[in-house]
């Protein structure tokens, strides 16, 4: 079983993830239409790039936008969730050892306690995000089973990984479950809402270009105050 999930299945999952993300990127960019979107992307590339950059960076900074500041607690949850989600798997020591064994190189690693903090933080944030879906009427009305599924797909590798790493229960079981959960997430990224992994950047860039080129980018002195 271990050979299967770390061998062919892993190759498949990473393959689908990388190719899927690339395809989504290409399709998105090709699907932009200057006349339909009413944004002259090409003739004003510099304004567009400035607008896109401002639009992405402002939103990557915690409390960098009015909207982030308007929801202070949720903003913390969103950032803790996403930082844990992205940093832990990439810099986890265990993953880097695997990387070194398989491909002969590894990335900078974080310590086990750091990984624990990130993982627990991510899971606690997920819990509050879940709670918020129930608690707030304006979020409850938007919520569907799909939102819970996507959240479960994102949290599963962390919960199983944490149990495996700390040898809580059956290590072999949690390890295999962890690997499978990770693969499910990778495969889900191009096909589900998790595609915001890349579409966040593309969509933000698009609206940034819209504001940068058309909606006042050439008149505002300091760019759009997101």
């Amino acid at each position: 079983m271990y050979e299967l999930v770390t061998g062919p299945l892993a190759w498949l999952a990473f393959g689908i993830f990388f190719i899927g993300v690339m395809v989504r990127t290409v399709l998105y960019i090709r699907g932009l239409d200057w006349q339909m979107d009413r944004v002259a992307y090409k003739p004003h590339r510099i304004y567009g790039l400035k607008g896109a950059f401002n639009s992405i960076v402002s939103w990557l900074i915690p409390y960098g936008t009015r909207s982030w500041r308007f929801y202070p607690f949720f903003t913390v949850m969103v950032f803790v969730f996403h930082i844990g989600l992205l940093m832990t798997p990439i810099f986890l020591e265990g993953h880097n050892i695997l990387l070194k064994e398989r491909f002969g190189f590894s990335l900078w690693s974080i310590s086990q306690p750091t990984a624990d903090v990130l993982t627990i933080g991510m899971m606690v944030a997920a819990f509050f995000i879940l709670l918020r879906r129930y608690a707030l009427p304006e979020v409850r009305i938007l919520t569907t089973w799909y939102d819970y599924t996507v959240l479960a797909i994102a949290v599963a590798p962390f919960l199983t990984g944490f149990l495996a790493a700390h040898q809580i229960g059956n290590y072999q079981f949690w390890l295999i479950a962890h690997i499978l959960a990770g693969e499910i997430m990778l495969i889900a990224i191009p096909f589900t809402k998790l595609s915001h992994f890349i579409l966040f950047f593309l969509s933000r860039a698009q609206l940034g270009m819209d504001y940068g080129i058309k909606r006042g980018g050439m008149k505002r002195k300091r760019g759009m105050a997101w």
């Binding site: 239409d33 909207s67 308007f70 939102d147 579409l199 504001y211």
Partner: protein, 465 residues
Amino acid sequence: MAQGKLCNREKVDTLEQLQALLNDKGGAQYYKEMQDLDVDTDLLRATLQKTLKEKSRIKAWLEICAHCGMCSDSCFLYLANNKDPEQVPSYKIQSTLGRLYKQKGKVDNAFMQMCMDTAWSKCTCCNRCGMYCPFGIDMGIMFSYLRGLCFQQGFVPWEMKIGSGMHRVYRAQMDVTTEDWVETCEWMAEEYEEDWPGLKIPIEKVGADIMYTVNAREPKHYPEDLAEAAILFHLAGEDWTVPEEGWEETSLAMFAGDWEACKMQVQSVYDAMERLKPKRMVVTECGHAYRATVIEGPYWCGLKTGQPPVESLHYVEWVAEVLRNGKLKIDPAKKIKEPVTLQDSCNYIRNAGLAEYTREIMSYIAEDFREMSPNKDHNFCCGGGGGFNGIGRYRKQRNAGLKVKRDQIIQTGAKLVIAPCHNCWDAIRDLEEVFEVGIRWSFLKPLLVQMVEIPEHLKPQEEEV
């Protein structure tokens, strides 16, 4: 296959059609016919396929929305309606366009009526929500797109059908013919010439520095606005003109989602630019007019630069410029002394970046200028944008929506509101009528005419004696 006599998928291209609609008081028959209007699901599916599925922007927006609800508090209609969850922008668009797309256009009459009611009474296309979404999902843009789908199917409020018909028949939002327009210009010039020696409204002058264009309501209902514009150009010593045709900047067609008529209307202005070859164009104090002709128009007309054929200024840009360069000087004694606030029009502030120009004007004319909060790019819609002011069917909803602006104005402590936009001006007038909070409202022109210093040689004769 039920198509009504008045409520149908036909475009209003003739005077007879337009008259028939106007004769139907309050749209009573029109809305009755709408109950039986069939949905052309094949057309709907094909349009969705071509303009949504094969494109990426709106498709991605509908797909990635994380249902986080961060757009909720950005929407003034959500706030004005006691945080009704059904007013959350994401919910509004997902339950209309989202479902339409998922069901590939296979929807019925009741669904289309719900889409119409949502698109015109629960969104003014102010685009504020787009600024509060982490993914940059602009629901205002999607509602504007949805309006286009509704219009194509004939599910459009009666006044909007008439409005777009007016543009098709008259190239103006109201029944103002070329003759009416020219006569009004001549009348105003004559009327005010005695007080302002040498005052002229030059019509169809080729090669002027400025081509001035207006909102049809001005010649139709407030011709003195035209006279005030003429006085200010006159005092500033501008070389200006108005075109005989192509003088109308507004676009009820844009509010209606009639993209074909949008193009017709804007093209008439661009044709005037070609004909008169002015150095620049100045648009009157109207928000959506500027948005339609200067910001969106180039795209409707297929101009790849996204720019109108001639550099185009909103009136506030022109005013800021002449106050800056001294062509117009404000008499310090006549500056506004009382507390005064300013309405930021979504269409040329958030959606065209002119916030600093209006502040610059305020710095010249007001001694106690009070900002609303939030303001500039983050302002709230006046409550009457996107056609909301003009639709009888949604008057109750419109009036409820005015509360947010009312409270913003009250908070400033100012009793005078400057609203350099026709829709905002109307909404603020109406909010005073509905809530009686004791405020006054004004365009810039009448205030400026009272405040500017008049050069010696332009003073009326009797004063010189």
